[in-house]
């Protein structure tokens, strides 16, 4: 994205990264939510990262670098995490971010929207492991939802059970 001549200083990029972590990412609930947020700051057509808040304080190349670094960092930590942790993260994202968890699971399964979550230049095997884990996590969450639905009144709306079930 950036020309070699306009490489931003690593110290300023680090400062922007700290700002991003403290002001924006800290408010998000869990690594999976952070990943979804960071992936959404990337323009699907150009692959460039955009963040209005950071752009007030830092130049465009620095913002882009900081967002790309944060994206890679969160993705790498999630992709190699144990499946148990991964499923808990996905469950937390679904529980906190969606009024109709069943709808989200169905939509994600059919549209495979999670494919846009990986950073562009990551290692293909890591990306594949991540995609595979998302599929398995969605299947586990779906099974949990179905089981919970059976145990509930069939007339009541579908809600994800609490973590302490």
């Amino acid at each position: 994205m950036l020309e070699p001549s306009e490489q931003p200083s690593p110290i300023i990029v680090e400062e922007a990264l700290r700002d991003l972590r403290n002001r924006t990412l800290a408010r998000l609930d869990g690594d999976f939510a952070k990943l979804v947020y960071l992936a959404s700051t990337r323009d699907y057509n150009t692959g460039r990262y955009v963040h209005d808040g950071l752009s007030f304080r830092f130049s465009e190349p620095i913002v882009e670098r900081a967002l790309a670094a944060a994206h890679r960092e969160v993705f790498a930590s999630l992709a190699v995490s144990p499946l148990r942790t991964f499923v808990a993260q996905v469950e937390q994202y679904i529980r906190s971010g969606c009024a109709r968890p069943d709808e989200l699971v169905t939509t994600w399964n059919s549209s495979e929207a999670y494919r846009v979550l990986a950073p562009a230049a990551d290692h293909p095997l890591t990306v594949r492991l991540f995609m595979s884990n998302v599929k398995v996590a969605l299947a586990i969450v779906k099974a949990t939802l179905v089981e919970h639905q059976r145990s509930q009144d069939p007339q009541s709306s579908l809600q994800l059970p609490s973590p302490g079930r």
Binding site: P82, V87, L125, R128, I140, A143
Partner: protein
């Protein structure tokens, strides 16, 4: 007589089929190889492969994830998990084969243009390459016959395969860190 003729015909047919399959797999591999070709690409492939493999292999073939799925998920999810891990294992094996073959292809291209070949190094490289390919086939056979979870018993073997490839790539890089007149012609 008719029996012998028909048996010969079947044998010829099988040999033809085998040759066709071999050529097809070579062609697939060659088309997969095309994006990699230069010294820089080889070096990048080597670095990225080395950086990610150990932890990923532990995650993919280690017992933790399977134990979790076995204890916490229904049968259909267990089946999905196994099929996903099988696909991952196949992909990983394919990558190892491609990288080994790329390394050799680049090295052969260098060697053709080089006037100072070291026979001992070439022999070692050839043996290492054959060992990596043989181990790939062994892991592939275990994967087909016993599924991805059988690979967790072979994790050391798999890790060894990865290390062997890394060493092979390092050896190729070292052997190819030669005078500029031995660069690959595109």
């Amino acid at each position: 007589m008719i029996g012998i003729l028909s048996l010969s015909a079947v044998a010829l047919l099988l040999i033809g089929l085998l040759l066709f399959l071999l050529r097809r797999s070579e062609a697939t591999l060659s088309s997969d190889l095309s994006p990699l070709g230069s010294d820089d690409e080889l070096s990048n492939a080597y670095e990225s492969f080395e950086a990610c493999c150990g932890e990923l292999l532990d995650r993919m073939f280690g017992p933790d994830d399977w134990d979790f799925v076995l204890n916490c998920a229904p049968k259909q999810v267990q089946r999905l998990f196994l099929s996903e891990r099988k696909e991952l294992a196949r992909y990983w094996l394919c990558q190892v084969r491609i990288r080994a073959k790329t390394a050799m292809r680049i090295h052969v291209a260098h060697a053709r243009n080089s006037d100072k070949l070291e026979p001992f190094l070439e022999l070692r490289l050839a043996i290492d390459y054959l060992m990596v390919r043989a181990k790939c086939e062994l892991v592939a056979a275990v994967l087909s016959l016993r599924g991805p979870m059988a690979l967790r018993k072979m994790i050391k073997q798999a890790d060894g395969l990865s290390d062997q490839l890394t060493a092979l790539l390092a050896l190729v890089s070292k052997a190819d860190a030669l005078p500029s007149h031995t660069r690959v012609r595109r």
